[in-house]
């Protein structure tokens, strides 16, 4: 327990407090810019943290992370443009509230919900993470092999663009991780004789290129659509009635967020959807949802912040990042010379507890900053994308240089930026690639150590109790979706019309069409949209930014995957029948 208190002492050091504040504010500022989600924000700002102490660096990155999360909420409510996938559902009721002149109440309740969800989640994390870490101390190379494989597999399963594409991206990430000198034999691998590659490819240019620059290039192409100036924000504090109405939603959202956040691949996106769906189902007046129900903002915002926090558990206690953003933070830690894993609590208690406790402070700062700074954010939203793009791109390029003082690194960032852009065009999510790259050397090293341990006999993975269990889970994750696909094929194939019915109005031009900017990612899928009134999902039409096909259960592949992006990409083909069907049940 004393370690916990020492952690507070670490956080309350003025430097750390300052960087926590800076992180939250920068995170919010950049999170407000449509198109740059938390992963991109952290990636672009990675170089800033290098001169810092590890604790300070992680505290700042964590601050950026939840700041960016909240920044995305602001654009969801005011512009109907979710800054990132986890705020997609917030749009339904948040924007409806904004149109009723209650944007302030929506943003206020989102801030309060985020605070409560985040704080409850940290309390739980404080108790759960050391237990998980203690359990994981027994893990050997075989367990880590399977854990890393399981993590990649789960992230691929819920990634946008379909499982096979995600796995292919992950495969390329694993391959990139092999570039450089082999740890076991010092053989040079895939360096093409280039000295700069002998030590392997740095994580920073990959993350900055794929997430940061790739995103910027992708937006560049599509940004010609003007953004409507946001509605005026008044009355930031939610009323007593709002609070009373939302309290249940905030409580349930916290629990859902915490639980789903721990799961690899789950995280903020899934939990915000689940929390929204639950509130709607519980409500006596579900028809209010989509027309400005305050719970519809409170639940997902609470849940995504709770999940954001709890997704630190697998990272800090197992050393396995649960999602793309955590992969970036993982990479940042490795660069700082800290390897996250079960030993972290015992070997670097000041780091572990410093980071955990900084989240309390960060959440308080988030609550304090979000409300007075709202006016600033609204003003930022008025800055044109054409002006912001060169600024972000130059920060990225110069930042990439400063990490190793290497021009070669800038070149790598540009190369990976082009790759990230092309991947997005082709419907490949760069997230699994970055995650696999980060886990690549751990995976290979563990695999080869395991095989040495087993004298080359791979059945050893099955016979050890823990790795055997993990192997069974791995098989389940691989085989269940396959079984689902096969079953679905037996039944009459769903028609294209049935698949796209989730967005029945997508082909109708809307009066608000000009507010859509080009910052969207492909693959908007929110099954809730099917349940909303037609007019509402019409507003939603392509205002969805879904980094991940959030509505896809792990068992949906094949035809269901194909539907994910096509319904937005080919709006003209969406027939208007069957408006009440849900995406979950394509047939």
């Amino acid at each position: 327990m004393s370690a916990v208190i020492d952690g507070f002492a670490v956080v309350l050091e003025p430097t750390n407090l300052l960087y926590c504040l800076v992180g939250v504010v920068i995170g919010m500022l950049i999170g407000v810019l449509p198109g740059l989600g938390p992963a991109a924000t952290i990636a672009i700002l990675l170089p800033v943290t290098f001169g810092m102490e590890p604790v300070t660096a992680v505290i700042m990155l964590a601050g950026i992370f939840y700041g960016a999360q909240y920044g995305g909420t602001i654009t969801s409510v005011l512009l109907r443009l979710p800054g990132e996938a986890s705020s997609v559902v917030t749009v339904f009721d948040g924007y409806a509230l904004a149109r009723q002149g209650r944007a302030g109440a929506a943003l206020g309740i989102a801030a309060i919900g985020s605070f409560v969800g985040g704080t409850l989640s940290i309390v739980a994390l404080t108790f759960v993470a050391p237990i998980v870490a203690g359990f994981a101390l027994d893990f050997g190379p075989p367990e880590y092999t399977l854990l890393a494989l399981l993590g990649i597999m789960l992230v691929a399963t819920i990634s946008s663009g379909g499982r096979i594409r995600a796995l292919a991206a992950a495969g390329v990430g694993l391959l990139l991780a092999t570039v450089g000198r082999d740890d076991f034999t010092s053989a040079e691998r895939f360096t093409l004789g280039n000295l700069s590659l002998a030590d392997g490819i740095d994580f920073v240019p990959i993350a900055m290129g794929l997430f940061g620059l790739g995103e910027i290039l992708y937006n560049l192409e599509e940004r010609h659509r003007a953004v409507q100036p946001p509605a005026k924000v008044t009355g930031v504090w939610p009323s007593r009635a709002d609070l009373r109405q939302s309290s249940g939603a905030i409580g349930r959202g916290s629990v859902i967020g915490f639980v789903l956040g721990i799961l690899p691949g789950g995280g903020a996106v899934l939990s915000s959807l689940a929390a929204y769906a639950l509130e709607k189902r519980r409500s006596k007046h579900p028809e209010r949802f989509g027309q400005g129900a305050i719970e519809g903002v409170a639940a997902p915002e609470t849940a995504n912040n709770a999940a954001t926090t709890s997704s630190f558990i697998p990272l800090l206690s197992l050393g396995i990042p649960a999602n793309a953003t955590m992969a970036v933070i993982f990479g940042a830690l490795l660069i700082q010379g800290v390897t996250p894993g079960p030993q972290l609590v015992t070997e670097h208690p000041e780091l572990f507890w410093g980071v955990v406790n900084s989240m309390y402070i960060g959440n308080v700062l988030l609550l304090i900053m979000s409300i007075p700074l709202l006016g600033v954010f609204v003003r930022i939203l008025r800055v044109r994308a054409t002006v912001l793009a060169p600024i972000t791109v130059l920060i990225t390029l110069v930042g990439a240089y400063t990490v190793n003082n290497s021009v070669f690194d800038i070149g790598l960032v540009i190369g990976f930026g082009v790759l990230g852009y092309l991947m997005k065009k082709a419907g490949f999510d760069p997230g699994p690639m970055v995650l696999a790259f980060v886990l690549g050397s751990l995976l290979e090293t563990s695999l080869r150590r395991s095989l040495l341990l087993f004298d080359g006999d791979p059945t050893g993975f099955v016979t050890r109790p823990i790795s055997g269990t993990l192997f069974a889970m791995f098989l389940a994750v691989v085989l269940l979706p396959l079984a689902g696909t096969l079953l679905r094929r037996r039944r009459p194939a769903p028609t294209a019309g049935g698949e796209v019915a989730a967005h029945p109005e997508a082909d109708r031009p809307t009066d608000t069409a000009q507010t859509q900017t080009g910052s969207m990612e492909p693959g908007p899928t929110v099954n809730e949209s099917a349940e909303n009134r037609p007019a509402d999902s019409q507003q939603m039409k392509s205002g969805l930014v879904a980094g991940k096909p959030v509505s896809q259960s792990p068992s949906s592949t094949g035809p269901a995957d194909a539907q994910v992006g096509s319904m937005a990409e080919r709006p003209g083909e969406s027939p208007s029948r069957n408006p009440n069907s849900e995406t979950k049940e394509p047939e």
């Binding site: 495969g171 092999t178 400063t402 194909a562």
Partner: protein, 150 residues
């Protein structure tokens, strides 16, 4: 406000584009297998496994190429991206020799005026502003070793 067409997404490319993507994955896997063979077992084992996996995944992508969502087509505005990348390549090529100030000014200006269609006045003002702020930040405050003229 101009009225934009309802489909704000670039038009979808044909299914053949999916085949190209699948081919790229297969080729990458093939390259990995070739490289792994040269390395031999030991250092080459893991790249071999990943390479085989990539080939299999690429083939699977090819099989479902017709059913999968089609990639986005390259449109006229994709030329903006080509221009942007070209400007960055020039930037990298010259930054080590002539310092970051002039390339930064030019890159910002090109992006603002030609890619962003901002006015001359805005473009000049903003790009000058960026250079001044960057200089103050990176050279003045952070004392980064970035090559600079002054």
């Amino acid at each position: 406000m101009t009225t934009e067409p309802a489909d704000d997404r670039p038009p979808a490319a044909g299914p053949s584009a999916n085949l190209i993507a699948a081919a790229v994955v297969v080729l990458l896997g093939g390259a990995a297998i070739a490289g792994a063979t040269d390395l031999g077992s030991g250092p080459g084992t893991w790249p071999m496994i990943v390479g085989v996996a990539l080939v299999v995944l690429g083939l699977a992508l090819a099989v479902q190429a017709r059913r999968a969502e089609p990639p986005e087509r390259f449109t006229r505005s994709s030329l903006l991206v080509v221009a942007a990348v070209a400007s960055m390549i020039v930037y990298v090529a010259v930054i080590a020799t002539i310092g970051f100030e002039i390339p930064t000014l030019l890159l910002a200006f090109v992006w603002l005026r030609f890619l962003g269609k901002e006015t001359w006045r805005t473009s000049i003002a903003v790009s000058l502003g960026i250079v001044v702020v960057f200089y103050a930040l990176f050279v003045g405050a952070l004392d980064v070793t970035i090559p600079h003229l002054f």
